[in-house]
């Protein structure tokens, strides 16, 4: 039996790492001794807060302002990271946005922003990182899906489509990269206590808890722990999987 995650000293890239689930992922991996770099889109203050608190705790964390919709920016930032660290061992595709509305009320921008960020961002970042992992003949990629990827949610056609795409992407890429010992998995969180999902939780009220077997909303750390597991050596025989972290939400 393994007694270590194998993540200490590894080079880890997290997209959307300044807030919510992404921040918890950054903290979890950094706490494990990994060298973590994260992309954030625009909130310099939140990003600096993460970096400073991690540095204060003696961890290696670096922030880079990158909009994952911009493929050239992703390539440039990944090249820079690889030049600094010499390798990229783990990629966590976490960056995502929500623009909920019934289908007919969705604007072109609501559709494009969600698909370009949530799906396009995964393509852009993974395309930039995968060649390094292929070259290393090792690596782990974890994509953040959602319970919406497999379960219908009113007002979430754009978001659900993006997460369904991520799950399909995960399975296809797992096949493609397996010959080079690179694992690709996804984590599908349910209702999680984050700023991004606040509106959904406000709308649903207590009713949502009644539909969760564990009778509570999940925390960002609950999700980060699952991501950590899939990226670690403990999951060395797991690839192409979607791991649901939803307190039993899907079983209502």
């Amino acid at each position: 039996m393994k007694t270590a995650s194998g993540l200490a000293g590894k080079s880890v890239l997290v997209t959307g790492g300044s807030r919510g689930i992404g921040r918890a992922i950054v903290e979890t991996f950094a706490g494990e001794g990994a060298r973590v770099a994260f992309f954030y889109r625009g909130n310099d203050e939140a990003a600096q807060d993460v970096v400073q608190s991690m540095h204060a705790a003696g961890h290696h964390v670096h922030a880079e302002r990158v909009d994952v919709r911009d493929s050239a920016a992703c390539v440039q930032a990944v090249e820079k990271l690889a030049d600094e660290t010499g390798r990229i061992d783990v990629l966590i595709n976490n960056a995502g946005v929500i623009r909920d509305n019934p289908l007919t009320a969705l604007t072109d921008d609501d559709v494009a922003t969600v698909l370009d960020t949530n799906v396009g961002g995964v393509f852009n970042t993974t395309r930039a990182v995968a060649p390094y992992m292929v070259m290393q003949r090792a690596g782990a990629i974890v994509n953040l899906s959602s319970v919406a990827g497999s379960k219908g949610g009113r007002g979430q056609t754009n978001y659900a489509a993006s997460k369904g795409a991520i799950e399909a992407f995960t399975r296809a890429l797992a096949v493609e990269l397996a010959p080079r010992k690179i694992r690709v998995n996804a984590v599908a969180p349910g209702v999680i206590d984050t700023e991004m999902s606040q509106a959904v939780r406000d709308l649903a009220g207590d009713e949502v808890k009644a539909r969760i077997l564990m009778r509570r909303v999940g925390s960002a750390e609950d999700v980060a722990n699952a991501v950590w597991f899939l990226a670690s050596d403990y999951a060395s025989y797991v690839t192409g999987e979607v791991f649901h972290v939803d307190g039993g939400f899907k079983f209502d």
């Binding site: 060649p131 292929v134 070259m135 010959p179 080079r180």
Partner: protein, 138 residues
């Protein structure tokens, strides 16, 4: 686009580093990398190996090789419809291909040739030429 001429001397100059890079990508001995060996038939290269080779060559030589560049170059000035029809390389396309891949022995050009089978023709020399052209274009 006019094809950039590459001399044997230029190929020889980059070959040792190309061979070393390819051996790393394929996980084989550098002595297995003969200039005219078919990468697929002779060295069991798979599609992911080609991506790896191109990526490593880009880094080793500090050049940029756009994805799909070899097939695009091989096609030369021929429009798609004249190069291939229904996934099969036309006679005109085959002549163009033989000219571009002049290092590949004639008997390896099977007819009919599927576009998808073009990479089966590639040899280490093909990649040397790609590197030299990328250096000249830079």
């Amino acid at each position: 686009m006019a094809e950039i001429a590459v001399t044997q001397q230029e190929i020889d100059a980059v070959f040792p580093k190309v061979a070393e890079t390819m051996a790393d990508a394929l996980g084989c001995d550098v002595t297995d990398i003969k200039p005219d060996v078919s990468l697929i038939e002779g060295l069991d290269a798979e599609s992911i190996d080609f991506l790896d080779m191109v990526f490593r060559l880009e880094r080793a030589f500090k050049i940029k090789i756009p994805r799909g560049k070899i097939v695009e170059n091989a096609r030369g000035d021929l429009p798609d419809a004249e190069f291939e029809q229904g996934g099969i390389v036309t006679d005109k396309g085959l002549a163009q291909l033989k000219s571009y891949l002049s290092e590949v022995p004639a008997e390896r050009f099977k007819t009919p040739m599927k576009v998808a089978d073009i990479p089966r023709l590639f040899t280490p020399t093909t990649f040397c030429k790609l590197v030299v052209r990328a250096q000249k274009e830079a």
